[in-house]
């Protein structure tokens, strides 16, 4: 084996350009696969962090009737904060959110919205809720996301009418005044959402002390459902991200397969060409005392060594590139707010040792197989014919 490595090394270096072309193609596979997987992992991290910071905290209690996909349930999805959770609310490690359906009339148009009552003093979300802690004559202070602001063509201190129905079903209307616009990557927090002070919404709906969702920020494992409320762990709440990542990973796997396939075609071609072009050399190895199996081994090592060289080359330019990417991020060329999912404009790839080791291992293994496959033919060669270079 040691001798095979030494000889394979000499042969590959001696083969010059062809070796380097193969190595370059292979090294692209290494770097691009690691980079793309890193971007997806980075996206996963970013999406979950953003959701934690803006939408779900470390977990939530949902009113048992609440269904985010059915706005008509909102009329019945509210209840007073349960007694056993009140202490946490008092300590600011939990915050109530009251949600109601409403209508907004920007420039005379009608648009359906969610009105969310948010505690101006909450410490769970990054939402600029303190901007709700103000009094404005004849209007309710409100904050909205930048996507919503763009959609409604609203700016700070603009006023607009909103309409809602209280629990008796009576329509009521009021003017709101935008006190802040925040920028967020989580569409569920932005699109169609308007945040007003919790107490304001409570009195608008006649639902003193009530809430739809309770969000906490302390990690505790002993949580479970409370009467009338369903506990949603962070894992459950982020499972949609996992789903999305899974789909994305499957999509990019096709690209990895194509990349690896291209590299493998180059290696395979080289190997097939080698056993035909180097028949005399093969015969010579045998005459000098190699068995045919040992020659198969030598050619397999030679082919596989392309992947070793490629890994080294990849390290040479890949490490600086990947590090630079992790630091500066990859800014997507299109506007990601239109994607309808929690994705930042700039993604910061995250690489794990497992990702790198796995990629290297897979490529090495595939290269070894692709190198061995055509080389098997040598085992059946007649050495005297090989020496004459006569095998067709």
């Amino acid at each position: 084996m040691k001798l095979a490595i030494k000889l394979a090394f000499r042969n590959l270096i001696g083969a010059g350009l062809r070796t380097w072309l193969n190595v370059i193609v292979l090294s692209f596979s290494f770097v691009i696969i690691i980079w793309m997987k890193g971007v997806i992992t980075g996206w996963d991290h970013q999406a979950k962090i953003d959701m934690t910071n803006w939408q779900i905290g470390e977990g939530q209690y949902w009113h048992e009737n609440y269904d985010p996909y059915d706005p008509f349930t909102l009329n019945d999805s509210h209840a007073p904060v349960p007694e056993i959770l009140r202490e946490e609310v008092r300590q600011d490690s939990m915050t109530p959110l009251l949600i109601s359906q409403g209508t907004i009339y920007p420039q005379g148009r009608l648009q359906s919205i969610m009105i969310k009552g948010l505690d101006p003093h909450q410490k769970i979300f990054h939402l600029p809720s303190h901007k709700l802690d103000t009094t404005i004559s004849d209007a309710i202070p409100a904050i909205i996301g930048s996507g919503m602001a763009k959609n409604l063509q609203l700016g700070i201190s603009d006023r607009v009418m909103i309409q809602w129905r209280d629990t008796e079903g009576t329509f009521d209307a009021s003017e709101i005044c935008i006190t802040d616009i925040f920028s967020v990557n989580v569409p569920a927090v932005d699109q169609g959402q308007i945040y007003i002070p919790l107490n304001e919404l409570r009195s608008m709906l006649n639902l003193e002390d009530e809430a739809t969702i309770l969000t906490y920020n302390n990690v505790r494992t002993d949580r479970s459902d409370v009467t009338g409320w369903i506990h949603k762990s962070k894992e459950e709440l982020t499972s949609s991200v996992d789903e999305l990542i899974k789909v994305k990973t499957a999509g990019t796997s096709v690209l990895y397969a194509v990349l690896i396939l291209l590299a493998m075609l180059a290696i395979f071609d080289t190997q097939v060409l080698s056993i035909f072009k180097r028949q005399k050399e093969i015969g010579t190895y045998i005459a000098l005392g190699y068995t045919r199996r040992e020659v198969v081994g030598l050619f397999t090592v030679e082919g596989t060594m392309h992947a070793v060289f490629a890994a080294l080359l990849s390290a040479a330019y890949g490490i600086p590139f990947l590090t630079w990417q992790a630091k500066n991020g990859w800014t997507m060329p299109m506007d990601t707010s239109e994607f309808g999912m929690a994705i930042a404009q700039t993604l910061y790839p995250v690489y794990s040792a497992g990702l790198v080791a796995g990629t290297v291992l897979i490529i090495m293994t595939v290269t070894a197989i692709v190198s061995y496959w055509p080389s098997r033919k040598i085992a059946g060669m007649n050495p005297t014919e090989a020496l004459r270079g006569r095998i067709q």
């Binding site: 001798l3 042969n11 050399e281 045998i286 005459a287 005392g289 045919r292 040992e294």
Partner: protein, 232 residues
Amino acid sequence: MENSSIIKIENLVKKFPMGKGEFTALSGIGLTLSQGEFAGLIGPSGSGKTTLLNIIGSLDVPTSGLVKVLGQSISELNAKESARLRKENLGFIFQSYNLLAVHTVYENVEFPLLLLGLSSGERKKMVMDALEWVGLTDKIRSKPPQLSGGECQRVAVARAMVKKPSIVLADEPTANLDAANSHNILKTMEELNRELKTSFLFATHDEKVINYLHRKIFLLDGRIDKDEVVSN
């Protein structure tokens, strides 16, 4: 090794499949070679010289008959054993040199020693000795494509001789060389034969080579036609 006979052939037949039938390349060959001979198989093209040399070199097997090289029967060796026989005891020289083109002269000559697993110190000494025998110590870093035909064949001789094998099998070693280079190579081999007691068996129809041989075995249509020892 019985009575210093290193090659012993009895009633050797070699047939090749051809079309539906067979082609008999060698038949009824009987031959004994002793240690230190400088012998050659002489015959026209197609007479079976290469075929016989290949069988002696355990690169091919007889169809029937007995071929013993250094006491080992060629037909009974498995792949590993025959590779070992070549690795340890046989040296090959080919008409077309068969050097490893991407390896240096030094590396080419070193190759058989790598197969034998010798230490780098031992290898270095032996390679330099061998290159000295053929007068190529100044070309160790060159690669075969940079050498003349004569130089290539001298590298091949050094590679065959470096491990001091018992037998060197040389198939038309001068076919690609001019007269001066042919004589050069032959003189070198003759000297090595004398000094190291290495046995040489050539296959040739080149007059220049024939003149150097101490024993001439004439082949005709796969049979031994004449076997004469030259007294000098």
